[in-house]
């Protein structure tokens, strides 16, 4: 009986042990050419359609290109201006805070739901379909529905329950609008993560649980000793990827608050997109985007290291 999830932890960030025992190496040494054929076309097309644009975008960060018309090289002045722009800096602060809270919440909730959907419950398929719905709902719907709920329904409910402090529209409060956005983002993103966690949970053979059950292990003990370690790889993947994608939050902000009230909920991606494409400051916002890229890579790398070290210690 093999467990499938451990191998997943090996590739990134650590030196992977050889996946094949030494004696088999010689058997494969005559086939690498086929492997090269398998990857080279993809490599070429990927380079052309992804890497070249990245380099191009980075180049434009050194110019004052508006997206059309003539442009000149301006060197690093875009970057200098960037660090003096309080609007940009506060968008970074907001986005980070938002991403940290959302990542933790989404992963905890998605794991809990995936555990529930994986257990022996009735109407399993139906429930799985239900929890998938937020992921495929268009952002316009989500924006309208939740705007309405926050503006009308929730205040009415809270007032009737006596919580007068919560009787306002949370999205209209400059200090707490971000909480409303977190709620909606988590609601929608949990669906995606539930799929990934379900896939991970289903790689755990049922026999392990039965054996543990026979041994008298409680559900929590089973979770701690069987489930969590075995889906460690999925947990790591999900944490890193959800953090990365929350750092890039854009749709939900536009749909719910449009950066408001005031500029309190402007995210980095929103500032780049708005300023770069609709505001005509393409070159400047590309500098912002390059810094953004570096930040994302750094943060993800640190996060990965931290989580993998924690994984290995279990």
């Amino acid at each position: 009986m093999t467990t499938t999830a451990d191998r997943a932890t090996t590739p990134v960030g650590t030196t992977p042990p050889p996946t094949t025992p030494p004696r088999a190496k010689s058997r494969f040494s005559r086939t690498p050419r086929t492997f090269y054929w398998m990857v080279v076309p993809a490599l070429v097309i990927f380079f052309g359609l992804h890497t070249v644009p990245v380099i191009s975008g980075m180049f434009f960060s050194l110019t004052n290109y508006a997206g059309y018309g003539t442009w000149d090289l301006v060197g690093l002045s875009n970057y200098v201006n960037l660090f003096q722009d309080s609007r940009v800096l506060s968008s970074y602060a907001f986005t980070f805070g938002f991403a940290i809270v959302s990542t933790i919440l989404v992963n905890v909730i998605a794991l809990a739901i995936a555990l529930g959907l994986n257990a022996r419950i009735k109407f399993k398929t139906a429930f799985r379909g239900v929890f998938f719905i937020p992921y495929i709902l268009a952002i316009l719907i989500i924006g309208y529905v939740f705007n309405y709920l926050f503006a009308n329904s929730f205040p009415a409910i809270f007032t009737s329950l006596g919580f007068d402090g919560l009787s306002g529209n949370i999205l209209a409060d400059p200090n707490f609008a971000w909480i409303g956005i977190v709620i909606v983002t988590v609601w929608q993103a949990a669906a995606f993560n539930v799929i990934l966690y379900l896939a991970g949970l289903q790689t755990i053979p049922g026999e392990l649980y039965e054996a543990a059950g026979i041994d008298g292990a409680s559900s929590w003990r089973q979770f701690r000793s069987i489930t969590f370690p075995l889906i460690g790889a999925y947990f790591t993947i999900n944490m890193v990827l959800s953090f990365k994608s929350f750092l890039q939050v854009f749709d939900q902000i536009v749909a719910l608050t449009n950066g408001g009230p005031g500029t309190s909920t402007e995210s980095i991606a929103m500032v780049i997109y708005r300023g770069g494409f609709q505001g005509g400051e393409y070159g400047y916002q590309m500098a912002n985007a390059v810094v953004y890229l570096i930040v994302i890579i750094l943060v993800s790398f640190i996060q990965l290291r931290f989580l993998q070290r924690r994984e290995a210690s279990i």
């Binding site: 997206g67 609007r87 408001g260 005509g280």
Partner: protein, 434 residues
């Protein structure tokens, strides 16, 4: 066990490959025109509410001009779409765009053709054309070109409910003092003077453009631009102080919870008589009527000062018509533009969309809701939207939203100055036309 020297392609690759080739062939064949003697014009149309109106117009044009086909491209997200088309060097033949700051930047970059020599230019109301010109033109030939013709204009003022005014014995205010007195009267009688919708930040804009536009010194924005990033002689803090204090005062009469109500809720509420006045312009009228077709609506210009003769109406060109500079079909494109600007077509659109006709000898708009603003438009007592002069990279409406919610005009003016000077510093070179 010898590995083959070149790989045997797995069988499923062939059908996938064939599918790809077939799809490619299909997509490319769709691009070629059916007949070589029919000219097809690519018509970029930005306004979703007007898609059907323009479809009807196109039908009429094609009936009169059998050799020309016009394909209306009703574009999602026009600001992004036009920019990507420019990047691809695929400027459309004929375009409609909202004539605002973005248009001005595009015009200065010489994207649009010069329509100066066309006879249809002479049919346009000069005051309206001036508003278009003030936003920016291509200066490549040495003199200012005419890069867009106005097709439909709007007007920004204050909408009011005549029934509620009559019921409370209030007359239409002609001075600022009268306006505030009216608001006080309504409050005393338990009626909300204004229904405000600050969940949508842009709805603080109309008051800004009216108050600021009237009270700003002449040539303010030109001086501001000439200063660069050091706002010494003119600045928002110095010159917009009175205007912003007035805006804060107006918004202090808003209903409860105005920060959580949005534009849709506002249209519905005003349509149902929830407030005496509504700080929106002519473009809101169709939306209000969608909630209640018999809603009583009237309008009057902002009485910004205590001199009734100072009153102007802020008017913008809601729909402007342009021709792509390097269009391969200039003659046909011009024919279509001439058709669009013909009096019947313009008046048909005006009636359908509650806008003002930009033509010089047009019959005045007969919608009673617009009766209060109409004379100013016909006389040419109009000014442009000043927010079109502020670069889109400055979050103007967000700052306005903060201001009216907190009531703090000083922070707003300081922030606006700071953002302006940052943008001025970043604009290292002025974009010159080719």
């Amino acid at each position: 066990m010898h590995a083959p020297t070149h790989p045997r392609r797995p069988r499923w690759r062939v059908p996938v490959g064939a599918l790809a080739v077939a799809a490619l062939a299909l997509s490319m064949s769709g691009c070629s025109s059916a007949q070589s003697d029919v000219v097809t014009l690519d018509f970029f149309q930005f306004k979703p509410e007007a898609v059907q109106d323009f479809a009807d117009i196109v039908e009429g044009f094609e009936a009169e001009n059998p050799g020309i086909r016009v394909i209306q491209n009703s574009v999602p997200d026009p600001d992004t779409a036009i920019r990507t088309l420019l990047v691809k060097n695929k400027v459309p033949d004929v375009l409609t765009l909202n004539v605002n700051g973005n248009y001005g930047e595009l015009a200065r970059a010489c994207i649009f053709a010069d329509l100066d020599a066309e006879p249809v230019v002479d049919t346009v109301n000069p005051a309206v054309q001036q508003i278009v010109q003030d936003l920016g033109t291509c200066a490549a030939s040495g003199e200012d070109e005419i890069n867009a013709l106005p097709f439909a204009s709007n007007a920004s003022g204050i909408l009011y409910n005549p029934d509620i005014f009559a019921a409370n014995g209030v007359e239409v205010p002609t001075t600022w003092t009268e306006l505030i007195a009216a608001a006080d009267t309504f409050t005393a009688n338990g009626v909300d003077p204004f229904y405000c919708t600050m969940k949508d930040a842009w709805t603080a804009g109309p008051a800004f453009v009216n108050l600021g536009g009237t009270l700003a010194p002449d040539g303010f924005f030109d001086d501001l631009r000439a200063e660069g990033s050091n706002l010494d002689s003119v600045s928002f803090s110095k010159d917009f102080d009175e205007a912003m204090q007035k805006e804060v005062e107006l918004f202090s009469y808003c209903q409860e919870n105005f920060a959580s109500r949005d534009y849709n809720a506002g249209n519905k509420a005003f349509a149902e008589g929830a407030s005496a006045m509504y700080l929106q312009g002519s473009y809101a009228i169709p939306a209000i009527r969608a909630n209640n077709a018999d809603a009583p609506i009237g309008s009057f210009p902002y009485p910004v000062t205590d001199d009734a003769d100072d009153r102007v109406v802020v008017s913008g060109v809601d729909v402007g018509i342009m021709v792509g500079r390097d269009t391969p079909h200039p003659v046909e494109a011009q024919k279509f533009v001439d058709y669009l600007m013909s009096p019947d077509v313009v008046e048909g659109y005006t009636a359908a969309q509650s806008t003002f006709s930009p033509l010089e000898n047009a019959a005045p708009n007969s919608d009673p809701a617009l009766a209060g603003l109409e004379p100013y438009f016909t006389d040419g007592t109009i000014i442009g939207f000043i927010d079109h002069q502020i670069p889109a990279s400055i979050p103007l409406v967000n700052l306005l939203q903060s201001m009216v919610i907190t009531g703090d005009s000083e922070t707003f003016l300081r922030s606006l100055d700071s953002e302006w000077s940052k943008v001025a510093a970043r604009t290292a070179t002025q974009r010159q036309g080719k």
